[in-house]
């Protein structure tokens, strides 16, 4: 910097060249754009990771811009570092042409292919055009995109621009890319999701095994980075004597399969009157689960407790964690439970959980074909065998010790640096 001198000092002393050091100091950091489609007021796991990753990069000197596409004017639910720019790309108002397309796409008397085409265009064209303007005019060094509704438009927008885009996948790829039940059910979207990956510089997945699903020509671009257990969770201290509670944490949705947990509990509740099941989470199945618990006569011991903020303390004081989900990208709640010394019971085919829960090491893995009976048997075994419960619980923290925020940040930074290294490969855009 220029040398500072209080007035009254000799004139020469006040004069200092705008030194190279100052030029270096004023240089802006590498620019990273982080894209998600919906962010306003959303409190899901992906949105949390999106914000935390942006914050981690900003804290390490990158110039981060968060781009989203929300029709509403809400704010991010999670706190964003004040050094990060936040830009909503959604037009206000939406041009008439696109409102007309959206309207027409919902008119059932029109041919289905037309409706699909207009529906997809109404949902994506402006987003793609805005992203393309941003990419070509701002030239971010790297673009990270979150989940298919942002991955596809960003990859299409970046095609041919030389911008390096890394789409991130937070679930099992087969579900994200082929299931008609996930994301936009429009077949145009499903086809575009996979085709657009040709323009990716790298393709992020949670676990290496998820990378095996992708077509051969994309496999060399796969990078696996598991999520992490937040430092806030690990800060809680495990209780010396745990309460007789089976805990489950997650959205009350079909994919979490809490009906099977309820059915299993119905089979063993009467034998273990001191025990109960507690589920933290909200979702569309709340009423159905409550009604079913009442029908089974376990409403007093099967408790749906809604949203809970300080989950670390809950993991620290309860005895068994049960996660009966069909599949996960990264079974965060199971990893958090392990970090705080809880043994985990899950189905052995549950991707995203079976990557770090091993039967007999830190939990019990149950064959899905065994259904509620098999789940009930595993829970009964842990309830009745204190020594087994303690042994499996004690192995938990070490089994997830690699899932730290610091390591997660380091992996991303290494990848960004690799892609932005001038001596590295020029671009992954095929």
């Amino acid at each position: 910097m220029s040398e500072g001198v209080a007035t009254g000092a000799p004139a020469e002393a006040a004069i200092d060249a705008a030194s190279d050091e100052a030029l270096e100091r004023f240089r802006h950091g590498k620019t990273v754009a982080v894209v998600i489609r919906m962010l306003a007021d959303r409190s899901g796991g992906a949105e949390r990771i999106y914000i935390e990753l942006a914050n981690m990069l900003a804290a390490r000197g990158y110039e981060v811009t968060c781009l989203h596409y929300d029709a509403t004017r809400g704010k991010p639910f999670f706190a964003l570092d004040p050094r990060i720019e936040l830009i909503n790309l959604h037009p206000d108002p939406v041009p008439f042409r696109y409102r007309l397309m959206r309207w027409a796409s919902r008119r059932r008397f029109l041919p289905r292919p037309w409706r699909q085409k207009w529906g997809w265009a109404a949902a994506n064209d402006i987003f793609i055009s805005q992203l393309r303007d941003y990419f070509t005019l701002r030239r971010p060094d790297v673009v990270l995109t979150f989940m298919p509704p942002a991955n596809t438009p960003a990859l299409i927008a970046a095609a041919g621009t030389g911008i390096k885009v890394i789409p991130t996948n937070h679930n099992v790829p087969a579900e994200d890319y082929t299931s008609p039940e996930r994301w936009d059910p429009n077949p145009i979207d499903r086809a575009a999701r996979l085709a657009a990956l040709d323009h990716a510089a790298r393709i992020h997945v949670i676990f290496p095994r998820f990378g095996e699903w992708f077509p051969d020509h994309l496999k060399s671009r796969i990078v696996a980075m598991p999520n992490y257990v937040s430092e806030e969770i690990v800060r809680a201290a495990p209780a010396p004597r745990r309460e007789p509670v089976i805990l489950a944490v997650g959205r009350l949705a079909k994919v979490k399969n809490y009906h099977t947990l309820l059915a299993a509990w119905g089979l063993i509740a009467a034998d273990h009157p001191g025990w109960k099941v507690v589920i933290y989470g909200v979702g569309p199945q709340l009423k159905v689960l409550k009604a079913e618990a009442a029908r089974l006569g376990v409403e007093e011991s099967f408790l749906l407790e809604g949203h809970r903020g300080n989950l670390g303390e809950e993991y620290a004081r309860m005895s068994i964690f049960c996660h009966p989900a069909h599949f996960e990208g990264f079974g965060l709640s199971a990893a958090e439970a392990l970090a705080l010394g809880m043994p985990v019971v899950a189905f052995s085919d549950c991707a995203g959980v079976n990557e770090f829960v091993a039967d007999g090491d830190n939990g019990l893995m149950v064959e899905r074909s065994g259904g509620a009976e098999a789940l009930a048997a595993a829970l009964r075994r842990l309830i009745e065998d204190d020594a087994l419960r303690e042994r499996l619980g004690a192995a938990g923290p070490a089994s997830v010790a690699g899932f730290t925020q610091e390591r997660y940040a380091e992996r991303w930074i290494a990848l960004i640096e690799e892609l932005t290294d001038p001596s590295g490969t020029p671009h992954g855009d095929a």
Binding site: A6, A14, A17, A18, A22, F26, R27, P82, L86, I87
Partner: protein, 300 residues
């Protein structure tokens, strides 16, 4: 450590600096002030004159100097880097604060911070706009209760003038360095970045102006102004796009007319006509309306 750093860039304008320093000395706010002057490679006599102005000044003055002229954004970065106090205000050599400015702004900022803890705030104020060759002052109001991104892009009733501001040091640090590719309009870029980083510009809620801007287009390159306008237009294209095609084209029209004004005021009428022609192409109707009302005259 002082409570407030007042940051002043200087380039070959010791008289303007003297005016700015006098307005600091006349402030009624009684907190501790440090003035930081950064000379941007002025001629030796102008630089020495600027330095001498600080000697015996009512408040401590830190004098920084670039060995050669590096432009306004670089010099603003030198000043930004020199911040040492918890609060920061900016003043340009040649502009002037009225005596109440700091007192009113500090009181209003404290109140606003209490009402919105954790919110990054910049306290701006209404100001007088005075053309150098005219006697009349025209009050310009900073209307902050609106979509501030849109308002800054329009630049009519919320203008990006650093010398109207008082804010906490970290709010300026969080915005980052000034963009050195913008020899002009770097303030607009800086304000936009502040608002995009969830900062909020506020004003004290008083009707009167708290400072005066001595306005002149003389000696300013219209081509450079246009280049900077074009750079801003590209850099923030997605924001212009957000508000629709008509908005975007209207802003283009005003950018061309703005450049034409600088060209006309510096007697480059051929260049002014070129820019007006470009403006006419961006928004023909607006241009025809302009012609009907004012002909080819564009000086406000």
């Amino acid at each position: 450590m002082a409570t407030l750093d007042i940051l002043i860039p200087h380039y070959n304008d010791a008289d303007g600096l003297a005016l700015a320093l006098r307005s600091i000395a006349s402030q009624t706010w009684d907190g501790s002030i440090r003035v930081v002057v950064a000379d941007d490679g002025s001629r030796p006599e102008a630089r020495d004159a600027a330095r001498v102005l600080g000697e015996g000044f009512a408040h401590p003055v830190t004098f920084l100097a670039n060995a050669r002229n590096r432009g306004r954004p670089y010099t603003r970065n030198v000043l930004l880097d020199a911040i040492d106090s918890p609060f920061v205000a900016w003043l340009d050599a040649g502009d002037e604060w009225y005596p109440e400015k700091l007192a009113v702004q500090f009181a209003a900022l404290a109140e606003a911070e209490a009402a919105a803890p954790g919110q990054a705030l910049w306290m701006s104020c209404h100001y007088h706009w005075k053309w150098l060759d005219q006697q009349a002052h025209r009050i310009k109001r900073q209307l902050t209760d609106q979509d501030q991104v849109r308002a800054l892009l329009v630049g009519t009733d919320l203008r990006a003038y650093l010398w109207t501001l008082l804010g906490r040091a970290e709010t300026f640090r969080n915005v980052g360095w000034f963009d050195e590719r913008l020899p002009r309009l770097q303030d607009l870029d800086y304000f936009l970045r502040f608002v995009l980083k969830r900062g909020r510009i506020i004003e004290p809620g008083r009707l009167e102006a708290l400072c005066v801007y001595h306005k002149s287009d003389l000696g300013r390159s219209a081509a450079q102004i246009r280049q900077c306008n074009a750079y801003i237009f590209d850099k923030y294209r997605v924001l212009y796009n957000r508000y629709g095609r008509k908005f975007r084209r209207t802003r283009l029209y005003h950018m061309e007319m703005h450049s034409a004004r600088f060209a006309a005021n510096n007697d480059d009428h051929a260049l002014a006509r070129t820019y007006m022609w470009k403006a006419a192409r961006a928004r023909p109707r607006l241009f025809l309306r302009h012609l009907r009302r004012r002909g080819f005259r564009i000086r406000p």
